[in-house]
């Protein structure tokens, strides 16, 4: 890729980045928010251990996840028959795993910090356990939204797993971060920096968009 050739391609790369990271974040949200919530409201033996493990997994190195997903999805691996290695789907799997512990742990924290009376109050007003849980979730929504945004932040910015299971294929699995890696390796520091800046702006716009849209009265 030559310096001049990156012009329009940047939008394609942004598209891949956004599609992969948003999908991974959405899927992780669907699993992690209920998981973090259940973890916060339930009590069982070994709960502290589970919380510690989940919190520790937040520091999971992206390359380790990349390697695990590679081994899993490789043709010679257990899920090889899916044939999704070196596709956006594989990157989604990697980023999904990366986002899981973050969103779970932060949701857990957010829900744990909700006033215990919220559930009782909802129940005293006739809420079923599900309805009361939903209320607790809503009262903790600030923290949960922060958890989801943090999860998205981690996956849009990660490169280790994206490059390992995506393969950095031009026009297919090349993302903002893998492009930065490539351009840096080629010595195009300025271009790498510019892409980094674009990545930040993209993440910022997404967050601002989400927050402003959500901020409007329902």
């Amino acid at each position: 890729m030559t310096d001049s050739g990156i012009g329009w391609e940047v939008f394609e790369i942004m598209g891949v980045s956004l599609r992969v990271s948003l999908t991974a974040t959405l899927l992780a949200t669907l699993c992690s928010v209920p998981a973090g919530f259940l973890l916060a409201v339930s009590s069982f033996r070994g709960k502290r251990t589970v919380v510690t493990v989940v919190t520790t997994l937040m520091a999971l190195p992206t390359v380790v996840v990349g390697l695990l997903v590679y081994i899993l999805l490789s043709r010679s691996g257990p899920l090889g028959s899916l044939g999704i290695l070196y596709t956006p789907a594989a990157m989604i799997v990697g980023q999904f795993i990366l986002a899981l512990p973050i969103i779970t742990a932060l949701t857990y924290t957010a829900v744990s910090s909700v006033d215990l009376r919220v559930r009782k109050t909802a129940e005293s007003l006739g809420a079923s356990p599900w309805q009361a849980s939903w209320m607790v979730l809503k009262e903790g929504r600030l923290g949960i939204i922060a958890a989801i945004v943090a999860g998205f932040g981690r996956v849009i910015a990660e490169v280790g797993s994206a490059i390992m299971v995506g393969g950095n294929i031009r026009g297919y699995t090349r993302t903002m971060t893998t492009t930065i890696t490539l351009e840096t390796a080629k010595g195009n520091f300025a271009l790498g920096l510019a892409l980094g800046l674009i990545l930040l702006v993209v993440a910022l716009s997404i967050n601002a968009l989400v927050l402003s849209f959500l901020g409007r009265r329902s």
Binding site: S124, G126, A127
Partner: protein, 337 residues
């Protein structure tokens, strides 16, 4: 009573994690449509009793009958929809007043077109009409309390339980809440239970007062509550006098003496028995078929007796009397002195 009581509690015990029994009720009937006050000091079990009645907590032991049928765990969610509890320091959900007040309607699936009228009605009941779009952020303590009441009344519950509804609000608002309690009961026919510290408030609002102390119902409608020091077989009261007791417990303690257990005789008719307190009858009234007296002397005591006994003893307002507390009548209560 021939009518089935709304609630019937039998041998209900609530035991907390530490193994301590915080509520221990042998028997309690609450009639349909009644207005009942629960009086007692902090830690007496008032809130626990209300939570059990609201089906928010289940006692570890005993049975609760609601409308004649025993309550099983699986009934709780359904029964909660009939009953509501307003907390002592109620928590409002984040957002607007409207969001809070409509919550009970939403969880019950009341069609949203009916909401505006219901909400307006509930808010006007608590004198907060037009507060719909206010954010709960920035409501005063009194407003919070009243929004919480409106939120509980909007879905027209059959039973309303209020935990210390007038604690921490100013005199004017207190009067409003008291009026509301009366209206709920008399005009709307709702069964109302409220807890309070104030015996005066309880008696002002209703004839039916449950005294709770140390998790137990003190069995009579009126009690004398004292605090003092228990020694072996003796209770040294704050005012300096002592009475005899059967209990062997020692230490600072609260005591109750049921008004009906207090024996009252004219000063002139007294014999030389010990433990007599001299005083004057300063108040008397007829309530619930019983005569209630207030004796003022070194010790202020309430006494209760049948009109027949009252007449036989020839008592009158202003009579000089001696009150005798039988050792058996003294109940030592748990809880702070």
């Amino acid at each position: 009573m021939s009518e089935t009581p709304l609630y019937r509690l039998e041998r209900v015990r609530r035991i907390v994690d530490g193994g301590e029994t915080i509520l221990d009720i042998d028997e309690l009937d609450l009639p349909q449509g009644g207005l009942t006050a629960i009086v007692g000091p902090n830690g007496a079990g008032k809130s626990t009793l209300l939570k059990i009645l609201a089906f928010l907590e289940r006692p570890e032991q005993g049975t609760i009958h609601y409308r004649g049928g025993p309550v099983e765990s699986r009934d709780l969610v359904r029964l909660r929809r009939h009953v509501t509890l307003v907390d002592q320091a109620p928590l409002l959900f984040r957002g607007t007043v409207l969001k809070n007040v409509t919550y009970g309607l939403r969880v019950r699936g009341v069609p949203s077109r009916e909401w505006p009228t219901l909400v307006a009605d509930a808010l006007s009941l608590v004198d907060l009409s037009g507060f719909e779009d206010r954010s709960v952020h920035g409501l005063s303590g009194g407003e919070t309390q009243r929004i919480a009441i409106a939120r509980a009344l909007v879905f027209k519950p059959q039973v309303v339980l209020l935990d210390e509804p007038t604690a921490g609000i100013d005199a004017a608002r207190k009067e409003m809440v008291e009026r509301l309690i009366t209206e709920l009961h008399t005009i709307m026919g709702v069964t109302v239970l409220f807890s309070t510290h104030s015996l005066a408030q309880a008696h002002f609002l209703t004839e039916r007062v449950i005294h709770l102390a140390g998790g137990r119902i003190v069995p009579h409608s009126i009690d004398n509550l004292f605090s003092g020091q228990a020694e072996a077989g003796l209770v040294r009261l704050r005012c300096g006098t002592t009475v005899r007791t059967r209990s062997k417990r020692t230490g600072p303690m609260r005591f109750s003496v049921p008004a009906a257990s207090v024996e009252v005789v004219l000063f002139s008719d007294r014999d030389d028995r010990a433990d007599g307190f001299d005083g004057t009858i300063t108040r008397m009234e007829l309530r619930g078929g019983q005569v209630r007296l207030v004796l003022s002397g070194k010790l202020s005591l309430r006494a209760e007796m049948s009109p027949e006994e009252f007449q036989r003893k020839d008592l009158q307002l202003g009579s000089r009397v001696t009150a005798i507390i039988p050792p058996d009548a003294i109940r030592l209560l748990q809880g702070e002195a």
